[in-house]
């Protein structure tokens, strides 16, 4: 059994409500934090090694330490609950079933950052979760954990929930800030970074739901103990949302020391692939991260067992590795078509491009059209190279990372599954009724793979 820090109480009946949550030890971290100096809490989070759980994996304590403190200017903490990366549904689980864990983490973090008014920006479609959070906030306030002079500490804090309205781009922190200001979700050019000029030009820290929830166990067990869990720079636990062709889709808390193979096949986690099918490919960190064929997924190019942590998943770079990303773990079995799957992702990114930068606005639509024609048996061999060329011209040439996020899945699909694309082009009729199948994608790698 792995260690659980976030979901250890998830199955306690009534944990969604304040009374049970408090009885189970909830809000202890606030009691502890309010007796500390804010700067010491920031240090504690730095020491814990906690990395942003939204996808980028940036060290949280360091992000906090960047916040500007100009005299007389209010600062704000904003929780990014705009979870929209295909394959990712972990924040939803936390907020839906243990809402007080997020509220508790936000109170401690608000105190550490000096935010008297903090916001949760939640994706618009999670309408019923907005109600759950607002109820939890009201309960916390009734019990003196929010409002004026919290627990006689002299610290005031309010938390408000803001619903988005259907835009993946608002998960990008500057787009989120624009949206919170009542505007279109167009990302801002950085610098200035939000820590200097964020919402309403005030210093702002934007953190993911899971990141803020993780502050609670860090305070409770201490940064040193927290940092002992996991391996290397992947400290603590990580929530993985597993989906696709697996027996047990759902949310799993892992301590980052298990292997990818164990995660897929162990009954404690995904429970293997339905109907005895074989694994073809996997996108382990949300739709933006590179897809890997089965053989590269379980073993790195160096021949080592690949583990479920930041370093091991990215071992080999994009040539033979992938990324931890948001922890949206998508499994494709032998019957799935990588071309079709990539097409749905390209369609997603075209739909979600804000339209501000031309490489992304034009490129995502172009990639979608080409992928659709290859999928429908109308593609030419030159289309594959054209796709490669387009994604190269998007990557790195946009204001925000959505361009990269749109380019990477296409690049990785061609890099590892080029023969499947070629088969579509060469078999324009057959590809409408049959799939390419597993072929060699699970075969053991004979020679070390290089870029």
């Amino acid at each position: 059994m792995s260690i659980k820090l976030l979901l250890d109480k998830a199955n306690v009946p009534g944990i969604r409500g304040y009374e049970v949550y408090r009885r189970e030890g909830g809000y202890r971290s606030v009691e502890k934090a309010l007796k500390m100096q804010p700067a010491d809490i920031v240090e504690e989070v730095k020491k814990s090694g906690l990395r942003g759980r939204g996808g980028a994996g940036f060290p949280t304590g360091m992000k906090w330490s960047f916040i500007a403190k100009p005299e007389g200017v209010p600062r704000h903490l904003v929780c990014n609950a705009d979870e929209s990366e295909p394959g990712t549904f972990k924040d939803r689980y936390l907020m839906e079933f243990i809402p007080h864990l997020l509220i508790e983490g936000m109170i401690v973090s608000s105190f550490a950052l000096g935010s008297n008014t903090s916001y949760i920006y939640i994706r618009g479609e999670y309408a019923w979760i907005t109600d759950i959070l607002e109820e939890a906030i009201a309960e916390a306030k009734q019990n003196g954990w929010l409002g004026k002079n919290i627990q006689d500490s002299g610290f005031d804090c309010e938390i408000y929930v803001q619903r988005g309205a259907g835009a993946y781009i608002c998960g990008e922190e500057t787009a989120l800030i624009e949206s919170l200001e009542g505007k279109r979700g167009n990302p801002r050019i950085k610098p200035p970074f939000p820590a200097i000029q964020g919402v309403w030009a005030r210093p702002t820290v934007v953190n993911n739901v899971e990141t803020l929830a993780a502050v609670v166990p860090i305070m409770n067990i201490g940064a040193e103990e927290y940092a002992k869990i996991g391996v290397g720079k992947s400290t603590g636990t990580k929530l993985i949302s597993a989906c696709g062709n697996i027996n047990k889709p759902g949310i799993y808390e892992i301590d980052m020391t298990i292997s990818v193979e164990e995660f897929i096949y162990s009954d404690e986690y995904c429970g293997g692939i339905p109907n005895g099918k074989r694994l073809k490919a996997c996108i382990p960190g949300g739709s933006s991260v590179p897809i890997l064929p089965a053989n590269l997924l379980f073993t790195t190019a160096k021949g080592e067992k690949r583990m479920m942590n930041y370093e091991s998943l990215s071992d080999g770079g994009f040539a033979t590795g992938t990324m931890m990303g948001s922890g949206g773990f998508i499994v494709l079995d032998e019957d799935q078509c990588v071309v079709r799957h990539t097409y749905t992702l390209a369609r997603f990114y075209r739909h979600e491009s804000c339209g501000q930068c031309s490489p992304c606005r034009e490129g995502t639509g172009w990639m979608e059209k080409i992928l659709k024609s290859i999928e429908e048996g109308k593609g030419k061999m030159s289309d594959i190279d054209l796709l490669w060329d387009i994604q190269r011209r998007i990557e790195g040439n946009t204001i925000c990372p959505l361009g990269d996020a749109a380019a990477w899945p296409v690049a990785a699909a061609i890099r590892h599954f080029r023969d499947e694309f070629e088969w579509h082009v060469n078999n324009p009729e057959l590809c409408l009724t049959e799939n390419y199948g597993l072929r060699h994608y699970a075969d053991e790698l004979q020679v070390p793979v290089s870029a």
């Binding site: 209010p74 979870e83 929209s84 990366e85 295909p86 394959g87 990712t88 549904f89 939803r92 008014t117 916001y119 994706r123 618009g124 479609e125 999670y126 309408a127 019923w128 309010e158 408000y160 803001q162 619903r163 988005g164 309205a165 259907g166 835009a167 993946y168 949206s179 919170l180 200001e181 009542g182 505007k183 279109r184 979700g185 309403w200 949302s241 597993a242 989906c243 696709g244 062709n245 889709p249 759902g250 949310i251 996108i283 739709s287 949206g328 998508i330 494709l332 799935q336 079709r340 799957h341 749905t344 992702l345 369609r347 997603f348 739909h351 979600e352 804000c354």
Partner: protein
């Protein structure tokens, strides 16, 4: 239809505006548009958007540009019940294409259309964060997950009986 929120809603809007700093009432735009869409027939007609602009003391264009950016705001009338079926990767792996085809055939409409009785609108959407419970659709405020053809039949029946 007169475009005027109830007193209760106006109080709610006043509370929302207080969440932001003085003079930053534009921040209330997204929440107020949600309220307006719920209140005024499920979509945002121009007079409704103009009304929202006046409530927040902003220019109508500031409302139009936001309403047209976010996919949850409807700029055309929609049916009483809107089936928003996810079609992105993880749902596709679990058969969302078949579900969409089934709904099309069952309601005899294409994606984006509304049934002639004004009851149902079918819309395809991109990832709603229910990948582990695929295929799925959003219906009003809630998600309907692990969809099968039988479940779709039951949902259609449920909507019809609610409407009567």
């Amino acid at each position: 239809m007169s475009v005027q929120f109830s007193e209760e809603k106006l109080t709610k809007i006043g509370e929302i505006i207080k969440r932001y700093p003085e003079g930053k009432q534009k921040s209330a735009l997204l929440p107020v548009l949600h309220l307006a869409q719920d209140e005024f027939g499920g979509w945002l007609d121009v007079p409704v958007m103009d009304y929202v602009a006046s409530l927040l003391s902003i220019e109508p264009i500031e409302v139009y540009e936001v309403a047209s950016f976010y996919s949850m705001y409807n700029l055309k009338p929609v049916g009483k019940f809107m089936f928003e079926v996810c079609q992105t990767g993880p749902c596709m792996l679990n058969g969302s294409d078949d579900i969409i085809d089934y709904i099309k055939q069952k309601l005899n409409i294409k994606v984006g259309e509304t049934t002639s009785d004004g009851m149902f609108t079918l819309k395809t959407v991109e990832c709603l964060g229910a990948c582990g419970y695929a295929p799925m659709m959003q219906l009003g405020k809630h998600y309907r997950e692990h969809l099968t053809k039988e479940k779709v039949d039951a949902i259609i029946e449920e909507c019809r009986s609610k409407a009567n």
